[in-house]
């Protein structure tokens, strides 16, 4: 099936076209607005994490991106065309959250079949190696553990060598070891310049594996940037030090948004811990200094407004845009 004519197509592709472009996309199920005017552009080659709590609209967004769900309003473009066109052209591969594995076939048979549906697939042996399935190739798909089955789903998504791969909560329900193996395979695929979009509610995964994190909540983008930017927007890096006497000046230090005194220790929340620490050093106030990096989880809670934390979602979103523009 793979011919020279087909094989050259990816090399003549216009890299300036976004891999994914969602414009004001809206989708409701009955009275529930699952996705609410969501806009998102993903340039080619980026690894993007779609982060959000359960029910934030991640799976619906992915369903529309894959052409499985039709949006009520707005426009979805994949490589400049309709999602179904990208699927038919073999440019988009997907790993659904669950399912897709049938009984009574071996791993190799299934992967070879899916690869054969594409014009220019990867060699089956390469797919199996990337997904760490070489040793399981002769095993029946219905006799695999959860982690192994998930790797088969991953193998099916990449078998056609698509330019964009979409993974819906790829590591949900995997143990630590299985998760590590999964991301090993993922990294190898990303290293080939592919665009990857994955959704997750594991914050550390977004933090570790994505170039860019888009936090969505209630069907809208509430933050968009690198994990560092998102933590900064949420202003949750904490600088703490021992203090005596007067403390009001601490609140005027650069970057500090909040001061909390507990006993003899001051806890400063800062958007710019470097500047805050420098200022403390200049004031010769550094005593038992500790800098606790922002916990992405706290940032996440702050951003999605599902906790008592500080900035309102809208402020955070605006901040995030400024951050990524800068």
């Amino acid at each position: 099936m793979p011919t020279g004519r087909w094989a050259v197509i990816p090399t003549v592709v216009d890299m300036s076209v976004n891999a994914v472009s969602l414009e004001e996309v809206t989708k409701s199920f009955g009275a529930v607005r699952a996705v609410d005017g969501l806009s998102l552009d993903i340039p080619q080659g980026q690894t993007l994490a779609l982060l959000g709590p359960n029910g934030a609209g991640k799976s619906t967004t992915i369903g529309m991106l894959l052409g499985l769900t039709v949006p009520d309003a707005g426009r979805v473009r994949v490589f400049g065309g309709a999602p179904s066109a990208a699927v038919r052209a073999g440019r988009m591969g997907a790993m659904p959250q669950e399912g897709g594995l049938i009984s009574r076939v071996t791993v190799r048979e299934l992967v070879a079949f899916v690869a054969g549906a594409y014009a220019a697939p990867l060699p089956v042996a390469d797919v199996l190696a990337t997904a760490r399935l070489t040793d399981l190739a002769g095993r029946r798909v219905d006799k695999l553990s959860g982690g192994q089955a998930q790797r088969v789903r991953f193998a099916l998504a990449l078998a056609g060598d698509p330019d964009l791969i979409v993974l819906d909560e790829p590591t949900a329900a995997l143990d630590v070891e299985a998760r590590r193996e999964f991301w090993d395979g993922m990294r190898r695929y990303a290293a080939r310049g592919k665009t990857i979009l994955f959704s997750t509610h594991y914050l550390e995964e977004a933090d570790e594996h994505a170039d860019r994190i888009v936090v969505i909540d209630r069907g809208r983008v509430v933050a968009d940037g690198t994990s560092r930017e998102i933590k900064r927007v949420a202003a949750l890096t904490t600088v703490s030090l021992s203090v005596d006497g007067e403390t009001s000046w601490l609140g005027r230090l650069p970057g500090v948004s909040m001061v909390e005194i507990r006993g003899r220790r001051a806890h400063l929340r800062t958007t710019d811990s470097d500047a805050t620490v420098m200022a403390l050093a200049e004031a010769r106030a550094v005593r038992d200094l500790e800098v606790s990096p922002a916990d992405l989880e706290d940032a996440f809670v702050a951003l999605t407004g599902r906790g008592a934390a500080s900035p309102s979602p809208t402020t955070a979103a605006r901040g995030a845009e400024e951050e990524s523009a800068a």
């Binding site: 894959l66 499985l68 699927v87 038919r88 052209a89 073999g90 988009m92 591969g93 997907a94 659904p96 669950e98 399912g99 897709g100 594995l101 049938i102 009984s103 009574r104 076939v105 048979e109 299934l110 079949f113 899916v114 054969g116 549906a117 594409y118 014009a119 099916l156 056609g160």
Partner: protein, 241 residues
């Protein structure tokens, strides 16, 4: 498309339940009916008549089983997975229909072979060729009915619906008990069933007649009905996915 058909066939050949209930059972039923003398009448005629009945029953069962498998595939997310490959939806439906047309072959062949080897049924080569062709091509409406159920219903309901349809149609169509022995009202119904039209074509050929136009038309009518049903089921499943 060939790759898809090949994959589906591999799955059927490894389906032990199907091999036992779909292929072996019609043969066993055939041998029980004929060797235990349960059916009255001339032994050789019974051997021939029941051979066609049970081959037809096997073919129908395999055709419906294919649709039940589709219901399971849908529940497993396989239908959606296929939608995420470059395979055109029409290719998938066509592939599944072709698979249905292939899997009926062993079920039909097993009974015909048993008829020849065990009961020494003797027919002319022309009769054999016609019977094989009619029994085989005549399964298409049932394949489509099974696929329609598979697309439209949940995995479990599709299994039940397909079993009920194949059993009910086989009984009313006169495959288990000849329709000649039905009460008049049931016989009238029987003659309009797709199963009767399907088996009647081969019965007539087996006993040296030409298939009646009525049987052919009845089966073609059902082909149109079940074809429309399969298409409707497929379109509905597509919207829901």
């Amino acid at each position: 498309m060939l790759g898809y058909v090949r994959l589906e066939l591999v799955r059927v050949l490894r389906d032990v339940t199907f091999l036992i209930f779909g292929v072996a059972m019609p043969v066993v039923m055939y041998l029980i009916f004929t060797t235990l003398g349960l059916a009255p009448g001339d032994e050789r005629q019974v051997a021939l008549f029941v051979m066609v009945s049970m081959a037809a029953y096997g073919g129908i069962g395999a055709a419906f089983n294919n649709g039940t498998g589709l219901g399971e595939d849908k529940a497993l997310g396989w239908v959606r997975q296929l939608r995420l490959t470059p395979l055109a939806p029409a290719t998938v439906v066509a592939g599944k229909t072709i698979t249905g047309m292939v899997v009926v072959v062993p079920a039909i062949a097993a009974v015909l072979v048993a008829g020849t080897l065990v009961n020494h049924v003797a027919l002319s080569p022309g009769q054999w060729a016609s019977i094989i062709a009619l029994l085989w091509a005549g399964t298409i409406p049932f394949t489509l009915f099974g696929l329609g159920n598979g697309y439209r219903l949940t995995s479990q309901s599709a299994g039940i619906a397909n079993f009920a349809a194949s059993m009910g149609l086989a009984v009313v169509g006169g495959l288990w008990i000849p329709a000649d022995r039905f009460p008049r009202w049931l016989k009238a119904i029987s003659e309009w069933t797709p199963t009767h039209g399907y088996a009647d074509m081969s019965w007539r050929v087996a006993f040296g007649q030409a298939p009646s136009p009525r049987s052919v038309l009845v089966l073609l009518g059902w082909l149109a009905v079940f074809g429309a049903y399969a298409l409707y089921g497929y379109r509905r499943a597509g919207r829901a996915a």
